[in-house]
């Protein structure tokens, strides 16, 4: 590739890069993401749901006795409910989205 053509190609790449990378600075978009606390709590909720399902499977496959499972399930559900309540509180505390 000849020198001028290579230079032209590199300049075109530079222009494309500048346009692409500076896009958010030129046109800031309204944030559509979850607030950090909600995201953290939702991750905790998913982990708790998984734990509940694991305990249930452990019980069904005979790894947990009926008594142990009942006790564990109660504890886990209480923990899950606490996370859900926390999610509710966090959701209520957030400013309501615009129309």
């Amino acid at each position: 590739m000849t020198g001028p053509l290579a230079l032209l190609l590199v300049l075109a790449v530079v222009a494309g890069l500048v346009l692409f990378i500076s896009g958010p600075l030129r046109r800031p978009s309204p944030s559509a993401e979850e607030p950090p606390d909600v995201a953290e709590l939702e991750a905790a909720r998913e982990a708790k749901y998984r734990e509940l399902r694991d305990a249930e499977l452990d019980h069904r496959t005979g790894k947990l006795s009926d008594e142990d499972y009942a006790e564990l399930d109660t504890v886990l559900r209480a923990e899950a409910i606490e996370i859900l309540r926390e999610l509710d509180r966090t959701g209520e505390a957030l400013p309501s989205p615009g129309p």
Partner: protein, 743 residues
């Protein structure tokens, strides 16, 4: 295009540096647009690295020897398949591959988390771009893949013969994918520690990438072992070579992390431990990359002399000090939310397993680096080999297999004696039966206690996994009334992490049975044979039937057809060859360059089976041809300059014709000399090995890979929707708990 390639690399460095600044500025000032701009810098880096890598690949494909790296690592006779793979055989190309893979994986995680981990992501972006800037700057300032020569050679040096193996296309990219993927959990862990957001979210977004790193690195390691077994001609698959160890250490570390992270998810425990593991694995991945390229430790993999020692050591030092500093700074927030309730629980087993894995990492690290440590302290560089590792690694591996069998059987939090009994009776019985049967079988493995224990433990593990699958299927069938195969598929689909993990444990047991058997009961013989002579190995008779020879543009192959029989019955016929590739050493002479043993490799004659492998390799010495080779060198040393001088005075077409005649005459002479191996065969050295259960290693690896893929595969959309349903449908009243579903 080399100028464009170089310009793209410089732009990549500028973009990475800008992205670091934009991400950190956005994170500090909470200005979203700067964070978004920083993320786009990662996408741009991926685009630039892809273009630069494509330019380099095209140069290799076209055999454009104006690129120094192409001239040094490829030739016109290199097959196209290997021309494309030759890019990463060079230091320059492998650095570019690193940047390319890192930027692609980084783009993927940052795209997937663009609306999540809002506070952590900018710092993770800065760390990932930091790695990108580091490797790009190495390519720009120290090992430029686009360096060119004003007077390119007519022919390249060619690819190192040892690298002419199909694995060359997959093994290095797999390892590098593993290494680069390990930087992602590392970067998000740094982000979580910097922001103090150490809850479940950063783990949930990076867990899959940690698992992918584990899978890629594991596949890379196993492909390397297979390559070693079929190509290197020493009869083994694992030599405890520093570069093998450098890949094994982060793999062990991330294996521990994948397990202990479950304890943090479920119980909020082991936060310091997990942060240390993920930061350690990330640091070890950079160490691994460094060792491949540095040559600071004697290794068959160290293809280049070190020019990058100082930058790499600086980066590794910064990672170690930074990681320790962050953990110490956040030690209060990293305290556990809960305590271990019982030593008889899955989390306790995971904890023990973690300790064993970390002990293995420490052992491997210490012995691998002992030559350097010894040199620093005493001035003498000692060499260590496999015997130094075995006394530590073998007992640790046995404990690991035992724990990998207990883990699936035992429940989280606590278990009762009755449930323990119910879970353990069958697997323990299977382990004991295996032990007893092997003890009483005549000629069994009783003479090798470690192997014997490994076989018994494998019986325990495999039975435990089958039992768990069966019980899961029974539980599912009790609700769905599906047929067994349907219930099994449904069970695994709905519990991918759990059953994918169990399958990995089964694969590990199978693999380690192969390792124990093949390393304890290998029979090998080094023999000198003439055609018609035979040798006996482990009851097999191996006869050297006839020599074979072939001359092609790429290589001269001297081989042997070997007939294997047992008890008078034919078992198999194998062919092994020694391949000689044209060397670029001018001292070899015009004929001798085709017979240089330093430029040769082996093709193993292998008959693989479930019970045993018959592995053979020929080691042809060209000394008996030395007289003829010297004679040919002398003739052509006089003749070639005469032809060249004469050609210089002729018109181009005639000159080309004259040169072609010269090369044709040389090729005829080479073929005649090579043919002497068949017409006047001499005593040739063979390494003959009968090795039991080696195939189990590759089968185990396939099972592990399959289990890993199952665990990695995303949860079905329907299941995810159901799991999310309670939240989505939640009214303002008391929050509901998850709906119970079939297992």
């Amino acid at each position: 295009m080399a100028v464009v390639g170089r310009a793209l690399l410089i732009l990549a460095l500028v973009v990475a540096l800008y992205g670091i600044g934009a991400s950190l500025f956005g994170a500090r000032t909470r200005r979203r647009e700067w964070v978004d701009s920083g993320r786009r810098a990662v996408y741009a880096l991926a685009g630039l690295a892809t273009l630069a890598f494509a330019i380099l690949e095209v140069a290799f494909f076209r055999s454009d020897f104006s690129y120094n790296v192409v001239a040094q690592h490829s030739s016109t006779t290199t097959p196209t398949f290997y021309k494309l793979a030759a890019a990463w055989s060079s230091q320059e190309g492998s650095l570019l591959l690193w940047v390319f893979l890192l930027s692609v994986w980084s783009s993927l995680i940052l795209f997937l988390t663009r609306r999540k981990v809002r506070e952590i992501a900018p710092y993770a972006t800065a760390v990932l771009l930091g790695f990108g800037a580091f490797f790009t700057s190495l390519a720009v300032f120290f090992a430029n893949p686009f360096a060119t020569s004003a007077n390119p050679p007519a022919e390249g040096a060619g690819l190192d013969p040892l690298l002419l193996h199909p694995s060359m296309m997959i093994h290095p990219p797999m390892l590098y994918s593993g290494y680069t993927l390990l930087t992602i959990p590392f970067a998000f862990a740094v982000g979580a520690l910097v922001t103090g957001r150490l809850g479940a979210e950063w783990i949930s977004v990076t867990r899959r990438f940690a698992l992918a790193a584990w899978l890629f690195l594991g596949v890379g390691i196993l492909l390397g072992a297979r390559w070693s077994y079929t190509e290197l001609g020493w009869g083994g698959y694992w030599a405890w070579d520093p570069v093998e160890n450098a890949a094994l250490m982060p793999w062990l570390c991330i294996t521990a992390f994948i397990h202990s992270i479950m304890i943090q998810e479920k119980r909020g425990m082991l936060k310091i431990w997990n942060a240390s593991l993920v930061l350690g694995a990330g640091t070890l991945s950079i160490l691994g990359t460094f060792l491949v390229r540095s040559g600071i430790l004697n290794s068959i993999h160290a293809f280049g002399a070190s020019t990058l020692g100082v930058p790499f050591v600086t980066l590794i030092g910064a990672m170690v000090i930074g990681s320790i500093g962050l953990i110490v700074w956040r030690r209060e927030q990293l305290r556990s939310d809960a305590r271990l309730e019982s030593l008889w629980s899955r989390e306790a087993v995971f904890l023990f397993q973690n300790m064993v894995l970390v002990a293995m990492v420490l052992v491997v690290f210490w012995i691998t680096f002992f030559p350097l440590i010894s040199q620093a302290l005493t001035g003498t560089k000692v060499s260590v080999g496999p015997p130094a590792f075995r006394p530590f690694i073998v007992p640790l591996a046995l404990i690991l297999v035992l724990l990998s069998g207990i883990g699936p059987i035992i429940a989280w939090r606590r278990v009762t004696v009755a449930n323990l009994r119910r879970g353990f009776v069958l697997p323990v019985a299977a382990g004991l039966v295996t032990l007893i049967v092997l003890l009483v079988v005549p000629g069994g493995p009783s003479s090798r206690p470690f192997a014997l224990i490994m076989f018994a433990l494998a019986g325990f593990v495999l039975t435990g996994v089958v039992q768990e699958l069966w019980r899961g299927v029974a539980a599912r069938r009790a609700i769905t009334h599906d047929a067994v195969p349907v219930a099994l598929v449904g069970l695994i689909r709905r519990n991918r992490r759990r059953y994918g993990g169990y399958i990995v444990h089964a694969g590990l047991a199978v693999l380690l049975v192969g390792v124990a058997a093949s390393s304890s009961f290998q029979h090998s013989q080094d023999v000198l044979l003439s055609p018609g002579q035979k040798a006996h190995v482990d009851g097999y008779t191996i006869r050297y039937v006839r020599p074979v020879e072939s001359v092609t543009e790429q290589k001269i192959a001297f081989g042997a057809v070997l007939n294997v029989s047992k008890g008078g019955k034919h078992v198999t016929t194998v062919t092994t060859t020694r391949n000689f590739y044209p060397s670029q050493d001018p001292n070899d002479g015009l004929i001798g360059k085709f017979f240089d043993t330093a430029n040769s490799d082996s093709a193993v004659g292998l008959d693989a089976g479930l019970r045993r492998d018959i592995w053979t390799v020929i080691n042809v010495q060209t000394a008996p041809l030395a007289g003829l080779i010297n004679q040919g060198n002398n003739v052509f040393a006089k003749y070639a300059p005469q032809v060249m001088t004469q050609a210089a005075t002729l018109p181009p077409a005639r000159a080309q014709q004259a040169m072609n005649m010269l090369w044709t005459e040389r090729d005829v002479a080479v073929a005649e000399i090579a043919h002497r191996f068949v017409t006047h065969p001499w005593k040739t050295e063979f390494l003959l090995i009968v090795d039991p259960l080696v195939t189990w290693i590759w089968l185990g690896a396939l099972i592990i890979g399959g289990g890993g893929l199952i665990a990695l595969w995303p949860v079905p959309t329907l299941a995810r929707r159901r799991a999310a349903a309670p939240q989505a449908a939640r009214p303002s009243g008391p929050p509901p708990v998850p709906v119970r579903e079939p297992a």
